[in-house]
Amino acid sequence: MIKFAWIIPLFPLVAFLLLMIGRRKLSEGAAASIGVAGVLASLSLSVAVFLERLQSPSNYVATFDWLRIDQVMVTMGIEVDALGTLMLLVVSLVSFLVFVYARGYMRGDQRFSTFYAYLSLFAFAMLSLVLSPNLLQIYLFWELVGVGSFLLIGFWTFKPEAKAAAKKAFVVTRIGDVAFFVAILLTFWKVGSLELSQVFAAVESGQLAPEIVTTIAILIFIGAVGKSGQFPLHTWLPDAMEGPTPVSALIHAATMVAAGVYLVARTYPLFLASPIAMDVVAYVGVFTAIFAATIALVQNDIKRVLAYSTVSQLGYMMFALGSAGYVAGIFHLTTHAFFKALLFLAAGAVIVSCQRQQDIRQMGGLWAKNRTVGSLFLIGALAIAGVPPLSGFFSKDAILLAAYQDGRYIVFLVGVLAAFLTAFYVFRLFFLIFGGSYRGKEPVVSVPKVMVWPMIILAVFAVATGFVNFPTDAFANWLVEGNGIVAQTASTPWWLPVGMTILSIIGIAMAWILYGKRSVAVSSFGEPGPLPYRLLARKYYVDEIYDRVFVRSLKGLGLILQAFDRFIIEGLVKGIAGIISWLGRIGSRLQNGQAQSYVLVSLIGLILLVVSFTAGRLLK
């Protein structure tokens, strides 16, 4: 069955083509069913591949010749390894659930089938990304995934903010992609081939100089930073919330943003070989985690809070990978995919029920009105906060353990603080939405059935996936063997899980005190309070800085060049033309009709000729 893995991405592609062609004629039901069928087929196949992979843990590689570059034959094909299979499963499962959920959420939208077409295109790109055997093919689908997110963010074309957000998303990720592109150029020349297997072989055999490996690793990491919204290039992710919520759930929570982490994991031997790269990944990761967590504290838009929490959680995964916690990182990626998707879908349900209202200050008291959504949201919140029975606890715990064991104590402490903040802001969100009385104006509406049961399935996964690695480290061993990365087997110090749980509970309690029981007037936190609050509310003014530093300077440079272009170059040309026509004017004025002046001019011409040429000769 593993040999047919290449078919998995084709189902969504076929769905995409069908939906694009039948854009006008398909009814909503038909369109949704085509989309869902496509993803379901790929889900079932990925499950089959996953199961087969469980028994015989052998990587399967199949490639064909694509483009001859000088002596090097660049190939295309698929490679199915443990990480790939896992990602296939996660991506297709979450996609399937979001596809079903979207059936309800997007009802009544006139570009319904186009929406499903774009979703299927994205699914195709994501699935083929995880199957790519070489750097070029990864880059190829990497960009296609970017296009998918661009189209979906800007799906509601009539909204100017959606247009700006889509453009921003694509441009910022493109900056990261260009770094990745340069990495490809470097590897091609230094390694002589882009096949990952050969790259890793070259790294082990020491054929590459250490600084080359570091530059390649860092460049790839910058690509990952762009896609996963890490610190310098994170500004596009919160704005991407302009897209419909299923998009945010699928792309900006589970799959695409995780692609960055996947990429670092996929090229892990490169990172292992250069300690500098590991430090960079770790520190950038942990800084993003704490940075995003602080901003999430004061956001008032439900999706913005979750977006910053995603950025923070990705920071977690990054610094896990950065501190040799390969298994921890991937484990958290998987669990995060489920509970963050759940949170987003629940948020979508909340938005639907409050008539498209996204500002949490207009919500409240929904626990009474819609208990199921409330309880699902609670499960997601508990998972992300790291409360023991749920998966979040195990994976976050594994990350912190990895950081601790790797000796990165500062990173460990910052990680712990971030975990505490995560618990706090998630439950701030929970109590503001579900606690207290309903502050919104419009009546609360019921949520369609078709949106609820995907959330339930996700809730089940959010709970269950924790135990995949708990008792037996089965997940770790399965993931690691075969690709030469040594899993950390040291036992966990006893105080770590206990401390973590206490910390989360304290966080939840504080959130309850501040927001649940209304002991402190919630409004006080609303308006722009003291400086630190304003700083956080304005997202550390990062957007403004970027705008002034890059966009404005580009416009200025453009102005200077435009002026240069118009005045210097055209000025030069006009100048020359002017001189020639001026000479012409002199010539025609000299031609004044008087025969005598003609003779005079000729005489003077003759004298000049005589003097200039024969002066030397005659006067000697």
């Binding site: 854009r23 010749d65 694509w66 483009l67 001859r68 570059i69 000088d70 070029l136 880059y139 190829l140 689908f141 960009e143 296609l144 296009v147 800007g154 074309t157 009539f158 100017p160 959606a162 247009k163 889509a166 453009k167 694509f170 441009v171 493109r174 900056i175 260009v178 592109f181 340069v182 150029l185 470097l186 091609f188 020349w189 580009l554 416009k555 440079l557 453009g558 102005l559 060049l561 435009q562 272009d565 170059i569 055209e570 040309v573």
Partner: protein
């Protein structure tokens, strides 16, 4: 069939003349019939070009289908019997074959795009087909004087095409076009004559052989005529630099792109700029490999200036046509990167970029033409939200913009990849700075397409109709080509492999 193959170049070059003869007999009033015949007349060269593509043997780097007929001989010195012979010498090799196929395709599509021409169809199509003869001839001529004749034929016909059917200040544009290219071809003529004087031959193959053999170079060194060869190379670079255009000589091209009628702009941006690239490769790199090797870094820097200058200014423009004009300058910079890389990858990238940019810019200008047909304006701030009214056109426009910024899966990416790969080996720093151009490309491409298709719909475009099938079909064909070449590039890159290998090896690349 055999004789056809033997004289294929002449057949391809002069097949549009069949259309011209037909058009002569059709009275001026039948504009419908004229348009029909005009469009059909571009099919014979297309069919022959595809036949050529089929028959072309990708493995040999020799000149194929070559045809040599004696033209005339000049005796330079009767006593010592020194004579220079001129022959009608046509041939095709790996470097020119892709460009010929590109030209044939773009011409057919531009003929379809000529439906927007409103008056004087008869003269238009006659000039159009003569231009096609000129361009196909340029790519196939292997005698320098013959090359020059075809080159000037394209110059004169385009002058008329711009001057009569252009937009507002078309005459100014036609004049600028004429003067700039006039200077370029004047410099080229002097360079060719100097070469003729040094080697007593105008045949490309003989010339190449003589310029390479050591005792000739020895003679040059003794007669210290080095400066003459150097000035010839500089002359050739300037001549084709004006055509490409390279940075300082580009202002004429902007005016032409804005003022010329849409189908002519498609041709100009799609094919005629590539004559500059072809000339640089053929007469610069092939004839003077060792000299080009010395100034490779200069070429790379020129390419870099082109890329960044074009990209930054494209970002500032308010008129869609000017945005595309500046983006063409930026994309020509990639060709310079390819040439400056001096290895087969870079050269492949340069030719690939020539072909892929041909398709992409032809498609974009076709879209703008149909957009202008409906909204009578190409000013970005006057347009907006057109996707709600013209979904098909906006969809294709978005796809074309993505191809422009080099999205993988489309031909633009492959050419950029090859060009950067090639240059990275020789000048990594310039390549990395050039990569910034990719980001800028994304910025201006998206700004242009989003501000016209996305966003709020202005009231006056309420009742604008979407594209008719006769317009969508060529657009989709072009898009199909772009994606096809993007997905399976070796269909284009294999035939030119051998020739470029030979060129690169002469430069020790």
């Amino acid at each position: 069939m055999e004789t056809l193959l033997q004289t294929l170049p002449t057949w391809i070059t002069f097949s549009p003349l069949l259309g011209v003869i037909l058009l002569l007999f059709i009275p001026r009033t039948q504009s419908g019939l004229l348009k029909g015949v005009g469009m059909l007349a571009t099919l014979p060269p297309l069919a022959l070009a595809l036949l050529l593509f089929g028959q072309f043997d990708g493995t040999s780097d020799k000149i194929q289908f070559s045809q040599k007929v004696d033209w005339f001989t000049l005796t330079l010195a009767k006593e010592s019997g020194v004579t220079g012979s001129f022959t009608y010498n046509m041939g095709i090799d790996g470097l020119s074959m892709p460009l010929i196929v590109l030209a044939a395709i773009i011409f057919s599509l531009a003929a379809v795009a000529s439906m927007y021409i409103k008056e004087r169809h008869k003269e238009y199509f006659i000039l159009f087909l003569l231009l096609e003869v000129g361009i196909l001839g340029v790519f196939m001529a292997h005698n320098l004087l013959l090359f020059f004749l075809f080159f000037e034929l394209t110059l004169v016909t385009t002058f008329f095409l711009i001057g009569i059917w252009g937009y507002l200040s078309r005459e100014k544009a036609a004049n600028h076009f004429l003067l700039y290219n006039g200077i370029g071809s004047a410099v080229m003529l002097i360079a060719f004559i100097v070469l003729f004087f040094l080697t007593q031959t105008m045949d490309f193959a003989e010339l190449k052989a003589i310029l390479a053999n050591p005792d000739f170079l020895q003679w040059i060194k003794e007669a210290n005529l080095q400066w003459l060869l150097w000035s010839t190379l500089i002359g050739i670079l300037i001549a084709f630099g004006v055509k490409l255009p390279i940075f300082p000589f580009h202002s004429w091209m902007l005016r032409v792109h804005v003022e010329a009628p849409p189908s002519v702009v498609m041709l100009h941006s799609g094919v005629m700029l590539k004559m500059g690239a072809y000339g640089l490769l053929r007469f610069g790199v092939e004839l003077f490999p060792t000299y080009v090797k010395e100034i490779a870094t200069l070429l790379a820097i020129l390419g870099l200036v082109n890329i960044l200058y074009g990209a930054i200014l494209a970002f500032r423009q308010r008129d869609l046509k000017r945005v595309l004009a500046y983006s063409s300058i930026s994309h020509m910079g990639f060709i310079l990167f390819g040439i400056a890389s001096l290895n087969v990858i870079g050269l492949q990238g340069a030719v690939f970029q020539a072909v892929s940019h041909g398709f992409i810019s032809a498609l974009l200008f076709f879209i703008i033409a149909s957009l202008y047909e409906r909204t009578k304006t190409t000013m970005i701030d006057e347009l907006g939200g057109l996707s709600q009214v013209m979904p098909i056109l906006s969809g294709i426009f978005l796809a074309a913009a993505l191809a422009l910024l080099g999205l993988p899966g489309m031909s633009g990416f492959i050419s950029e990849l090859l060009a950067f790969l090639g240059l990275f080996d020789r000048a990594p720093v310039i390549a990395v700075i050039g990569a910034l151009g990719l980001i800028l490309a994304t910025v201006y491409a998206l700004r242009a397409v989003l501000s016209t298709t996305f966003g709020a719909l202005a009231t006056e475009w309420k009742n604008v109709k979407d594209t008719r099938i006769v317009e969508t079909l060529p657009m989709l064909l072009l898009l199909g080509l772009i994606i096809g070449v993007g997905i399976y590039p070796s269909v284009l890159s294999d035939p030119m492999q051998a020739t470029l290998q030979m060129i690169a090896s002469r430069m020790g690349g």
